[in-house]
């Protein structure tokens, strides 16, 4: 995919353009706030204060960010191979089975540091398994990965309703969820981490899976830029015909990439299930799989971009909750709009402002050249 646009300096490409896109998305969101009849500046204040104003708020922000790092990485890994994995939602949902099984099996007899690795393996396994079929179907039968992963999201949702209402629900309980795990099935909080900065985490469910998310981000960086497989994935994403010509197996890379992507999405389940609720409930993913798309687009599919983008979305989720608390006419659905606008401007319309910025740049560098010349003379 050759870019028809002029090459710009790195900080413009990876810093300025995403920021401009983000700013436009927020301006549009401000318009919606105006339509509702509220003050956008006040909403912005509550958003930022609600996300960072107190240790507890920050804890919630980072808790949400943990989730989005996983799903963002999942989407990004697939992006690199030219695959659009829109099924993070389903993969994360099914990944929950792995977490729940590990916890239900061992929570009463083992401490968390024994259950946790098993839960990681379980979630990654189930997530990868759910992504395997779409990957395999694309590689071997030529079905379009976007369509199959959408379909798999819905199938996953039906499957989980079935499992939670009939199979995993404890006897005599009415609500569709597993039993609450004993201590072994609950992750310790990272209160000490924020305490270093003198912040009190309060009731925020910020937990160990955050560290796992950072490790995962580092591993993804290693995988994509420092391994043979990563090289092959990027080659395929860049030019499938070049990859084929170089003797890389397209179907093998497709299947493996999708499974890694699915595993990352599945690991997202650790955070809400073991980290917060201590049980598996219906619809615990809450759209995080789709947020991953926005996060990956914002972060330009690089772990170093995905982590701040995930924190940004964590901020939106936590700050959005505060807005709806302080300004009752704005509900939490404001986040959904902002998310959509970010996806629109950072993804589909990412090149809208590029020609203008490039022109601006060309003009200023020309002027700099003229200045240098006159000085020299």
């Amino acid at each position: 995919m050759s870019s028809p646009y002029a090459k710009l300096p790195g900080w413009v490409e990876y810093g300025l353009i995403p920021l401009v896109n983000l700013a436009v998305a927020f301006l549009m969101a401000g318009l919606v706030v105006l339509l509702v009849g509220e003050n956008p500046l006040e909403a912005a204040y509550h958003l930022i204060n609600g996300a960072f104003g107190r240790g507890e708020y920050l804890g919630f922000t980072l808790y949400y960010a943990t989730t989005f790092i996983f799903t963002g990485l999942a989407v990004a890994v697939a992006f690199h191979a030219g695959l659009f994995n829109i099924g993070g939602e389903g993969q994360a949902y099914v990944g929950g089975i792995g977490v729940a099984l590990a916890c239900l099996w061992l929570d009463q007899t083992m401490p968390w540091f024994v259950v946790f690795p098993l839960a990681i393996l379980g979630s990654a396994f189930f997530g990868a398994a759910w992504a395997f079929l779409p990957g395999w179907l694309q590689a071997k039968r030529g079905s379009h990965i976007v369509i199959t992963t959408i379909m798999f999201n819905f199938i996953a949702s039906s499957l989980m309703v079935y499992l939670l209402t009939r199979v995993l629900k404890p006897l005599g309980s009415m609500s569709p969820q597993t039993r609450t795990f004993a201590e072994g099935g609950q992750l310790p909080k990272l209160d000490w981490l924020l305490a270093i900065f003198g912040l009190d985490i309060g009731t925020a469910p910020f937990n160990v899976s955050f560290l796992l998310a950072l490790v995962a981000a580092f591993c993804v960086w290693l995988l994509i830029w420092r391994t043979k497989l990563g090289y092959e994935m990027r080659t395929m994403g860049h030019s499938p015909s070049a990859a084929r010509y170089a003797g890389m197996s397209e179907s093998r890379i497709t299947v493996i990439t999708m499974m890694i992507s699915g595993a990352l999405a599945g690991m997202m389940a650790l955070n809400p299930i073991m980290g917060e609720q201590g049980r598996m409930q219906l619809d615990f993913v809450q759209g995080a799989g789709f947020v991953g798309i926005a996060v990956a687009l914002m972060g330009r599919s690089h772990p170093a971009g995905i982590i701040p983008a995930a924190v940004l979305f964590g901020m939106l989720y936590q700050g959005g909750a505060e807005i709806s608390f302080e300004m009752p006419s704005i509900s939490r659905d404001m986040i959904v709009i902002i998310q959509g606008l970010v996806i629109l401007f950072a993804g589909a319309l990412e090149n809208m402002f590029r020609p203008a910025i490039a022109r601006l740049f060309a003009a200023s560098s020309r002027r700099a050249a003229v200045v240098a010349q006159t000085k020299g003379a």
Binding site: I343, L344, N351
Partner: protein, 323 residues
């Protein structure tokens, strides 16, 4: 209740559930045939349903509601068109974005304007579609077989229901028997050739996107002005994706689309009917399986196990002149 009566009731609800699917799937047919993937059907339908409910509630006129639905849906289509045609952005990303923006805005605006938890006010008689009763429908209901079929199956639907079924042959005629349709299909298969013939690919695609918007407007208006009296948040509930599945299942052909939508509608009606009642021979079927069946069937079809689904060749690829 005898067996025949059960069948008639089941088919009647099949028709009722299928109508928005038919509109939305035909809408997708127009854009996808012109080479633009559209997973924003869900969002456009939802936006249209909200506009219809809100405007009909304020103006007390069902026609203003319908008009508003079409306008909003076309506007959303144009956003998708601008992103994917003019800006050559990723069509799937754009579709996802539209679904998000609409899902959020309908709730926020609905709550802010009407303060009923994201609903629009319940619509009275004049501000929603009424069912149409065919002549003599009541008097011949007692005649066996013919009576129920005429009175319950054919008569007694909303105007939009008949429009939906009429749109099937009309869409076929537009796509296969007019110059516009020929060019539209060509743009989806080989835009370069169309461009060489001196026809603007961009303008063709914009027109296809507008057609899609109009049909999605009908789908949304049906939901909030006919099926129910008013808009409820998230009322499309995945119908846009089912329509997309139906479109693929029908291999991008108008009459097949109607059949696929009726099939998926039938599964839906059957699932509601079977809730708690075991099926003969098979026994208890989980409702969830019935709900997932359209998606499962589509995946199997895409895998080529029941015929091959071949999408328009240029689908998903933005057209760049002079390469």
């Amino acid at each position: 209740m005898d067996f025949f009566h059960v069948i008639v009731v089941l088919l009647e609800s099949t028709i009722r559930v299928s109508v928005p699917l038919i509109f939305a799937a035909l809408a997708g047919l127009f854009t996808e045939r012109a080479g633009i993937f559209d997973i924003g059907l869900e969002g456009k339908m939802l936006g249209a349903a909200f506009a219809a409910g809100a405007v009909a509630a304020v103006t007390q006129s069902v026609w203003m509601g319908l008009l508003a639905a079409i306008l909003i849906s076309v506007a959303l289509s144009l956003v998708h068109g601008y992103a994917s045609i003019t800006q050559r952005g990723n069509q799937i990303v754009s579709g996802v974005a539209i679904n998000f923006i609409v899902a959020g805005s309908t709730v926020i605006l609905g709550e802010a304007w009407f303060r009923q938890g994201g609903r629009t006010p319940a619509l009275g008689e004049g501000s929603r579609f009424q069912t149409i009763t065919f002549p003599y429908a009541d008097s011949i209901r007692e005649i066996p077989i013919l009576g129920p079929v005429y009175s319950d199956l054919l008569s007694g639907h909303f105007l939009l229901t008949y429009v939906a079924f009429a749109m099937v042959p009309i869409s076929w005629w537009i796509l296969y028997r007019t110059r516009f349709g020929l060019r539209l299909r060509a743009v989806g298969e080989n835009p370069g050739a169309v461009d060489t013939a001196g026809i603007s690919v961009i303008w063709m695609r914009y027109r296809a996107v507008i057609c899609c918007g109009i049909l999605c407007g009908f789908a949304g208006a049906y939901l909030s002005l006919a099926m129910t009296a008013g808009f409820v948040k998230g009322m499309t509930a995945g119908k846009g994706y089912i329509a997309l599945a139906a479109l693929i299942f029908a291999k991008w052909r108008p009459f097949n689309i109607m059949l696929a939508c009726l099939l998926f509608g039938f599964l839906d009606a059957l699932a509601i009917r079977l809730q708690g009642n075991p099926l003969p021979l098979i026994g208890q079927v989980p409702v969830q399986l019935m709900q997932a069946l359209p998606y499962i069937l589509t995946v199997i079809l895409l895998a080529g196990f029941i015929g091959k689904a071949i999408p328009p060749k240029a689908g998903g690829v933005p057209y760049v002149k002079e390469r």
